[in-house]
Symmetry: D2
Subunit: 350 residues, 4 copies
């Protein structure tokens, strides 16, 4: 018996990826698709500008969209889990309404930094799910909200976790982010031709703050952010999928390139241990060619769930530098939400 899933924001880019990834999921099935009022009542295929290369699943295409409120969703089906990929401003209140009754796994930024809300990368901080009982109790909810970090934070966080034993002090990251990260329609094509945009609103702040919460310690009933520094400079480039990040890292233990390479290569987390359905075999794949990773070649590694790392080398300034690449709408969004829900399910929170 599969658990029944509702997707809020089903017509957006992340919603589409969720539909795609849930198509033959062993544990979950799509039960309700919700979107804005404008789309409610229409069939999914009619309301959704599907932009993925694989075809829209025909049965899902025939489903009727409902409005993103609790009553409409409840009326449309018997739901066990709610995935939210609502826009940040809408997400705040709507997700709280749903969390009164349902486990909500959210890609939206609205609740990420609230003290009792887990901000989860399943390979990195699975124990932060232990915030859930405190959250439910404090808010008197039957359900809860669990959030996924920003796309560019997730891939960075996955590569920083194996460096934690070397005592992480400072991280500088400069990103070249894909167009799909801006949602749909996102950036105008006329702005991207022969161009780079050196600014993505709020993105640097998200990386700088979220990373420290994710790498923080769960103690008592709280997460204590990591005592370290992260600084980011974020750019948009003309690539469809796959965020690239140039990372410079300072660790107190000053590890060698070989030690860092080994830490990346052997890194495994709970999802691998528990063999969760969406878990890639390797959370991190190391490439030794001088010119990898590259978005077009590496974004689909591990079905889009592996982060690909390359060019690990000595850094004169901070000690170590490397490049990492992650598929921003799979590992950075829809796949992240799925993996979080799988972990929470396996751990008994759902």
């Amino acid at each position: 018996m599969k658990r029944k899933v509702a997707i809020l924001g089903a017509t957006g880019l992340v919603g589409q990826r969720l539909v795609q990834l849930l198509q033959s999921h062993p544990w979950f099935k799509v039960e309700v698709l919700a979107a804005s009022e404008r789309s409610a009542g229409k069939k999914y295929h009619a309301a959704c500008n599907w932009i993925l290369e694989s075809e829209m699943p025909t049965d899902v295409g025939e489903m009727k969209l409902v409005n993103s409120d609790v009553r409409s969703v409840e009326k449309a089906g018997d739901v066990d889990i709610v995935f939210s990929s609502l826009p940040a401003d809408a997400a705040g209140q709507i997700e709280e309404e749903f969390a009164k009754k349902f486990p909500v796994f959210s890609k939206a930024s609205a609740h990420r930094l609230e003290e009792d809300v887990p901000l989860i990368i399943p390979e990195v901080n699975p124990d932060h799910l232990r915030l859930i009982p405190f959250q439910k109790k404090r808010r008197r909810w039957q359900g809860f909200i669990s959030t996924d970090p920003n796309c560019s934070t997730i891939q960075l966080g996955i590569t920083l976790k194996p460096l934690m034993p070397f005592n992480l002090k400072r991280v500088i990251v400069s990103s070249m982010q894909a167009l799909s990260g801006a949602g749909y329609p996102g950036v105008a094509s006329v702005d991207m031709v022969d161009n780079v945009l050196p600014y993505i609103p709020n993105e640097e702040e998200k990386i700088e703050v979220e990373t420290l919460k994710i790498l923080g310690d769960f103690k008592g009933s709280k997460v204590h952010p990591l005592n370290a520094i992260v600084s980011a400079s974020c750019n948009r480039v003309s690539v469809k999928d796959g965020h690239m990040e140039c990372v410079f890292v300072e660790c107190e233990a000053n590890p060698s390139v070989e030690e860092v390479r080994g830490a990346f290569e052997h890194f495994r987390g709970k999802p691998q241990e528990l063999k969760l359905p969406s878990a890639p075999k390797n959370p991190i794949l190391v490439r030794d060619e001088p010119n990898r990773p590259q978005p077009r070649f590496d974004r689909d590694a591990g079905k889009g769930m592996s982060v690909v790392v390359g060019r690990i080398r000595h850094d004169r300034a901070l000690g170590i530098k490397y490049i990492c690449l992650g598929h921003n709408t799979i590992r950075g969004a829809a796949g992240a939400a799925l993996l979080s829900a799988e972990l929470a399910t396996q751990k008994g929170y759902v």
Copy 2:
């Protein structure tokens, strides 16, 4: 009476820019165009795959290319100055032959790091030209070699110079470099579609080492490199012209954003003081919009000779971060060579 110029490597991308910029130069005129043996004997318009948007000057198009050796060049005209944009491997020996008789201004990397060879950014280290008499004496040459830094180094160096009073300690730079920086044909188009290349051979080393020589002190008969650290991570993106750099800087004096902004804005160098023909009014232009500089909009600032800086902001990790953009084949190559030659001419070295 204009000085007569020979261009070695005249058919390449930098050679073409030199031809374009010399078209109505008040001090210099094109006298001899030299290229590889394959092209020698052909008319310039027939041998050169002109890729600039402005039309090839018709008179230059009719000039006959000669081989890049001293005898052929001397036979073809009465030359005062030699510009070299030869490939690095060819440049080493050929430039030395020419330097026995001529002042050689070189864009090639071959001689940049030799102790008695100036590596010049006219606004930054004009006094390094004082290496020339020592070089001539030591090598027993009538002429000399003066070099321009790598394109991505030049724009970085220009922005670091005004920060020198704050006592520069560490610089981290991550670049997104234009296709024209790879010469012609350079990168295959099939490699760049929907992609970013995180590697440019030797580029990071050049930035890391050249910058310190440029910012160094001329004392006695030598340049003493700056005692600081520069670290780079270089990427190729699908932009025609204009290198973008995300720069993170640590200064001992820990200047405020306003102090840094002021230092950039008020920076002027010898070329501005001397009103050299190719000098832009402002070596650095500061943009205050959140999303500038952008290659397509800002690369032509100051006729391609100004470096455009934006997003100057506090950096948690090192103190200050900003974005800079320079036109890689003008300020980063042909214009750099011209400005160096103008400075050397004005200073009496030519």
Copy 3:
């Protein structure tokens, strides 16, 4: 004394080009900028996402936008001429209101095919302006509406006019159109990466019908469309500016390639004869290289007002084939409107 101009739709792509081209116009000056209610009251620089490479003229940037209705415009200034680059659906009624009092030169498609409305390419059918008195009389307007064709039609029409003496029978055109033709924000960047869109809504119909009206005869009080066939297949490609068209033409007189080349090269129209300020020296520029025209190299020919033709060759199927390229927001839009207004002014209609 310059005539005072109001621009309706001033913040859009075509509006921006109009502002740019009017910056130092000898006959016209910007007096009023009008836009949608959302922008009215704001300064131009605050409301307009300026996407041209040249800087926004500072004085225009300080002008306050007014709403696009007659009363607001009249209150804002003493206007002689109205340029409209409103969206097609809004244009219908608003332009009629303005035409009751003002000469309106419109880029919108709303009125193009009305029997008493001139659809003008100044080099092609200047005599169609003679519809104006009939229009004014019939509609009892003090002003009038004169329209410019669709961007892809204009460049085609200019190249077909010199072929009229050969008795044009059939034209097949396949276009590769630039992103700026879709306005702003236009096409989503994520849709264009590594892609071509083989469809532009209504574009083919516009080319097929408008061309025949333009090439038609003004007789009595009417324009009789040309008795010929035009068929189009329109595509969007990832180019910023400059529409490319592959044209196949059948003429009864079956001209040779040389005759066609000569007809293109020697073609001049009223704007050239009258030396109108925006008239290019050559309406058509012929390139003989095998691989021209190309958008990046040729779109700015004649300050964006020349159509560049290349690859004129024998066609097995229809007789003649060639490629033509025009700058879609200059010759195809803002420049077209200006040139029409200049012609009408010179002819005494304004």
Copy 4:
């Protein structure tokens, strides 16, 4: 027992696709990889700049390349079939040498138009393989040469075949071709940014002539080309894979849009009938959305072996127009060679 295959030109783009497609082929296995002298002796992974998204098969990567001559290939293995993707100029003589002993399936243009050489699209003209015995006899060869058409011809030919019953008279085609069609490195990236190239050397002639041979009748010992007219205008656009063609067709029987749509949809050929391993279920897939096919979405249809057709509509000029898209390095090259070899094998020619 699988037949053993040698690939001439194994390191090129088409060679790479062949390696990829042969990886788990039920009838054929890679036995020998041959390349130019420069690469001979190196391991495949060391000599080949692999540009496909899927990883190079590790066993093939370890194979040693041999020179592209008969003796070297024979020495390296016991070969049953030779695939040639040599450059046109090299192919002429080398293929003839191989054909003395082996069945050669060639993607090169060298022999395509020779009277006794089949030019095969398996779904279109399988009976042209009957030229083989005449070729062998006439040339006194044990083996033979069978050729595949140019990539842009194949997809056009497949869509024209089902229109043959309507009595094809005239075809006009305008193409937008992918970068991979130019081989590697092919077009320089700096030439393609913000640009379209309206010229591909020899491409138009290939489409115009090859199409008629393919659609011709085999009678007696000869192929009689179709008595019709094909005219092409070929362009290069910034797309990685997938050629788009705008096709205008005149048929004597003047079929309706519905008849044409039906003919496309129901078209099947010998490969489908014989269930050849590389045969797609549908040689032609019809899309009814107004904006399809698009390269990024449709090029992989039928594992890259289906041609996708859309926008079938009435044409004022010739009767019918439509868009077709094919994967140029699969259906247009490596997959074409494979399917031809499968057909020839099944028919007993190998």
